[in-house]
């Protein structure tokens, strides 16, 4: 606890200093660079707080893509901010001070930082995470159930479970069983006597539990429990890509050559780029695929893929990129990713489940179905994110035509 807090405080002081510098410095390029530094420091803060997926995303998206987009925009814009008449904008400062005071007042009743008894750690999330994880081992595939275990009893639960009181407002058993016996947020081996509380007609984690296939609980939350949110998030990215095309693309006239400023005369850049790009693309695909087993996933991997293509465009010029990936192809692929996601959900509807109920995809082995569904949607996300980031970069970097 103490180590986290010390490193945390140091990093946060750096972050605050960077934030003030971003606001105050007049050169816009310096601002963009400092934003990149800010994002990377923020990623470090989050690594310190053990949130690997988020740190990865912030480093890739905030430190990588945002900086590229900002610099691509700044090519078209004035280099410096206009000099302000007054150093401090009094009404804004007063508003922010009041809002900050209100927020600090609100923190006075919050649980302490790191407090294991905070409501969020023992109300719903442990139930969600700690069921039927007992059948994990390192091999994929259908796990044999323990003696006397009836997998189909979980499909139509009739509410008669031992040890759980009938009165729904009596929740004391939850506190004692999860916290006192096993510690908080620890995946539990299934024992008879503790079955999680649930309602009739639902299935829980199926017995060959998908958590065994997907140890990264962030991915299982992202693609499974809250998969619907993620689908709409992918749509937000898609919308951003389409909006950029709508706002910035100019019709390509026949014979008009794309203006570009390739850096192919820079030997070091050219050689190193040629060597790195295959590894970058491979790493991107690796991150998307491996996101179930460790930090990573569709967003992070998609951004890394996009960075590979953007690097190619920066060094060899955008016409070269358009020969490899024509705009038609990127336009279509942006939609394909979201369609894969919603198509998987719709396929679950066609197989008789609810929308995004992946276990319907494989009726014999619901856990396999869940794993398959999550893999598919992560690929969908990866495709859309990479193509949209590339599209956004292309549109922002286009030259003005008169």
């Amino acid at each position: 606890m103490t180590t986290i807090v010390i490193i945390d405080t140091l990093l946060l002081l750096l972050v605050t200093a960077t934030a003030i510098a971003i606001i105050e410095v007049r050169s816009l390029y310096a601002s963009a660079m400092l934003t990149s530094v800010y994002s990377l420091l923020m990623a470090l803060v989050w690594v310190n707080m053990h949130s690997m997926d988020v740190a990865f995303t912030e480093a890739a998206v905030g430190g990588g893509i945002s900086t590229i987009l900002l610099i691509g925009t700044l090519v078209h814009l004035p280099r410096e901010e206009k000099k302000l008449k007054k150093r401090l904008h009094a009404p804004a400062a007063i508003t922010c001070a009041l809002a900050g005071a209100a927020l600090i007042y609100g923190t006075l009743d919050m649980p302490n930082f790191g407090d294991p008894m905070a409501p969020i750690h023992h109300y719903r999330v442990p139930e969600m995470m700690s069921q039927t994880v007992g059948f994990i081992n390192q091999t994929k595939g259908k796990q044999p159930a323990p003696e006397g275990f009836d997998p189909y009893a979980y499909r139509t639960f009739n509410g008669a479970v031992q040890g759980i009181p009938k009165d729904p407002t009596d929740t004391a058993w939850r506190e004692t069983s999860i916290i006192a016996q096993r510690g908080i947020m620890v995946p539990q081996v299934l024992t008879p006597g503790h079955e999680p509380h649930h309602e009739a007609g639902h299935h829980l984690h199926p017995p060959d539990d998908f958590n065994g296939h997907i140890p990264n609980s962030v991915t299982s939350l992202l693609a499974g429990y809250r998969g619907y949110d993620t689908m709409f998030e992918t749509t937000v990215i898609f919308t951003a890509g389409v909006s950029l095309i709508m706002l910035l693309r100019r019709p390509r006239r026949e014979g008009e050559a794309q203006k570009s400023a390739p850096m192919t005369d820079q030997v070091i850049l050219r050689v190193v780029t040629k060597m790195s790009i295959p590894f970058i693309l491979l790493f991107g695909l690796y991150v998307i695929t491996h996101g179930e087993l460790g930090p990573g996933g569709g967003f992070q991997g998609g951004v890394v893929l996009a960075c590979g293509f953007i690097l190619f465009a920066l060094v060899f010029g955008r016409p070269a990129l358009y020969r490899v990936l024509p705009p038609r192809v990127t336009d279509v692929l942006t939609g394909v990713g979201v369609l894969i996601y919603s198509g998987t959900g719709a396929a679950c509807l066609f197989f008789g489940g609810k929308f995004l109920d992946y276990s319907a995809l494989n009726a014999a082995s619901p856990g396999e179905g869940e794993a398959l569904g999550m893999t598919l949607v992560e690929y969908g996300v990866g495709i859309t994110v990479s193509m949209v980031m590339l599209t956004i970069f292309n549109q922002l970097a286009e030259e003005q035509s008169k």
């Binding site: 409501p119 750690h121 719903r124 139930e127 639902h202 909006s243």
Partner: protein, 502 residues
């Protein structure tokens, strides 16, 4: 195949999602518009089926769990009387506006962008419908961002007509993102204290754990949520983004936004204030009634006076919209059955009237290329149906008897009188109506009692494809003014359900 009836809630949101993405492939010409009309028509039909299902169910609630996860852990769609009503309004107006959009968009948006425009249009509807139907707090935030982002892009597409659309959109983007971030902050504070994200679960938790409603965190969460939601629903001092956005957006987009975007913001306020926090905390413990009623009254008067001074008719209607939203906010700030019912009824009535009036202005722009008072001169004779629709809509804004506006104002005044110290607010409602009379009269005078400019081009009536949706909306507003039994039943049930959750 699959069971449509059982999966209705999710189909209402996923069909525009998948269809909207496929719109990009529809190419040029009339095909994007036709595909968008097909989609929005299907969705409208499905929302009608859903409202029937809600009224037919025993508990009055239709619940759908995404991914078949129990609602405490997964995302739940929860449709009750209020929800289904607003879904029908949004889907219906969306459908009619899409029909209307063919001519208007052909004129105002470059032809090679139509497939992208309609894709973003359908996705905007998807976002708005999704906000209305969901029962999970974080899902509301994600769908809010979808609907906001698509609307920023749609408003900015007015750039080929007037460059002010770009600044309007950017200003809306900055203010809207700050508002959405405040909402995110509020949701975060709530999640930290309650431990859950499902709205019903949050409500149960807030009212069962002792001492939680007195904690400072919940207080500050409430305050920031009200500010964030106030920005989204254009409550008086936080409404600055709205006039420019409605003025410079393409006409079809203005019609769609005025009828749906801020109403969905009001719906979100209903959910947060009445369903999650509960009437007791929101209105008895916190001084919300006073704050909201004050802001709403100030909004009605100030924007009414500002609307009087405008020559650009779209800007006038935009300020008028803020005033009408003031009525809606005033209604629910009273926290009694008449007030909330009047608020919900005005959501329907304002959507019909304002949608129709913006459509009429779009038709004027289509023929005249301008929408100021000068261009409207003498149009009463040359574009009779369009101006008649505008005038009827204006009568509805005033609250003339036999129009829908009268019904909602009646409920509002009743609500004001029901609470002992709130009768001055009834006076505010009447003053607002007087102001509406004045600014509507200016247009009537110009259209029917003045001669057109000698140099003005000879114009004919607007195309039928624009007239039919316009008159369906205005006609519906007159119909619901004459026969208000359906509206009353739905809105009073919704109000009682909202107020019932203590």
């Amino acid at each position: 195949m699959f069971d449509v009836q059982a999966n209705l809630p999710v189909l209402i949101v996923t069909i525009p999602l998948i269809g909207g993405i496929l719109t990009i492939l529809t190419g040029r010409g009339w095909k994007p518009w036709a595909w968008a009309t097909l989609l929005t028509g299907t969705i409208f039909y499905l929302t009608l089926r859903l409202i029937v299902a809600v009224w037919a169910s025993k508990t009055g609630i239709v619940s759908y769990e995404l991914g078949n996860w129990p609602r405490q852990w997964g995302i739940e769609y929860r449709v009750d009387a209020l929800n289904s009503f607003i879904l029908c309004i949004v889907a219906g107006v969306g459908f009619l506006t899409t029909i209307y959009a063919k001519c208007s968009v052909e004129k105002e948006v470059p032809a090679d962008r139509h497939n992208f425009f309609y894709a973003v249009w359908v996705l905007a509807l998807c976002g708005l419908l999704g906000i209305t139907i969901t029962g999970d707090a974080f899902n509301v935030y994600v769908l809010l961002e979808i609907s906001s982002l698509t609307v920023y892009a749609l408003v900015a597409m007015g750039k080929d007509t007037h460059r002010g659309a770009l600044t309007a959109s950017l200003r809306y983007l900055i203010l809207g993102s700050v508002g959405a971030s405040f909402i995110l902050l509020g949701i975060g504070y709530l999640m930290m204290i309650t431990g859950t994200l499902n709205m019903q679960d949050m409500h149960d938790r807030l009212h069962s754990v002792p001492g939680i409603l007195q904690s400072k965190t919940v207080l500050v969460a409430f305050a920031f949520l009200v500010v964030g939601l106030g920005i989204k629903m254009a409550m008086f001092p936080l409404h600055m983004w709205l006039p420019r956005a409605y003025t410079y957006a393409p006409s079809a987009v203005s019609a769609l936004l005025s009828a749906t975007a801020t109403k969905v913001g009001v719906y979100m306020t209903f959910r947060f204030l009445f369903t999650i926090f509960g009437v007791g905390f929101s209105f008895m413990t916190m001084p919300t009634t006073w704050v909201l009623a004050l802001c709403a009254s100030a909004g009605i008067i100030v924007t009414g006076v500002t609307a009087l001074r405008q020559t650009n008719l779209k800007r006038m209607l935009a300020y008028s919209s803020v005033g009408q939203l003031g009525y809606i906010i005033l209604g629910f700030s009273l926290a009694n059955v008449n007030g909330v019912a009047g608020s919900v009824a005005h959501i329907l009535n304002h959507a019909l009237m304002k949608g129709g009036m913006f459509m009429a202005l779009g038709a004027v722009f289509y023929r005249m290329n301008r929408v100021d008072l000068r261009s409207v001169r003498g149009l009463g004779r040359r574009m009779p149906f369009t101006m008649a629709a505008f005038v009827l809509g204006g009568l509805g804004l005033v609250g003339f008897p036999l129009t829908a506006g009268f019904i909602s104002k009646w409920y509002l005044v009743q609500g004001c009188l029901d609470r002992p110290h709130m009768w001055p607010l009834a006076g505010v409602v009447l003053v607002g109506s007087l102001l509406a009379v004045v600014y509507t009269w200016r247009v009537v005078e110009a259209a029917y009692f003045q001669e057109p400019d000698p140099g003005a081009p000879p114009v004919t009536e607007a195309p039928t494809l624009m007239l039919v949706p316009m008159w369906i909306l205005i006609g519906a507003s007159v119909y619901f003014g004459i026969d208000a039994t359906g509206t009353s039943k739905i809105t009073v049930t919704a109000a009682k359900a909202l107020l019932g959750g203590s």
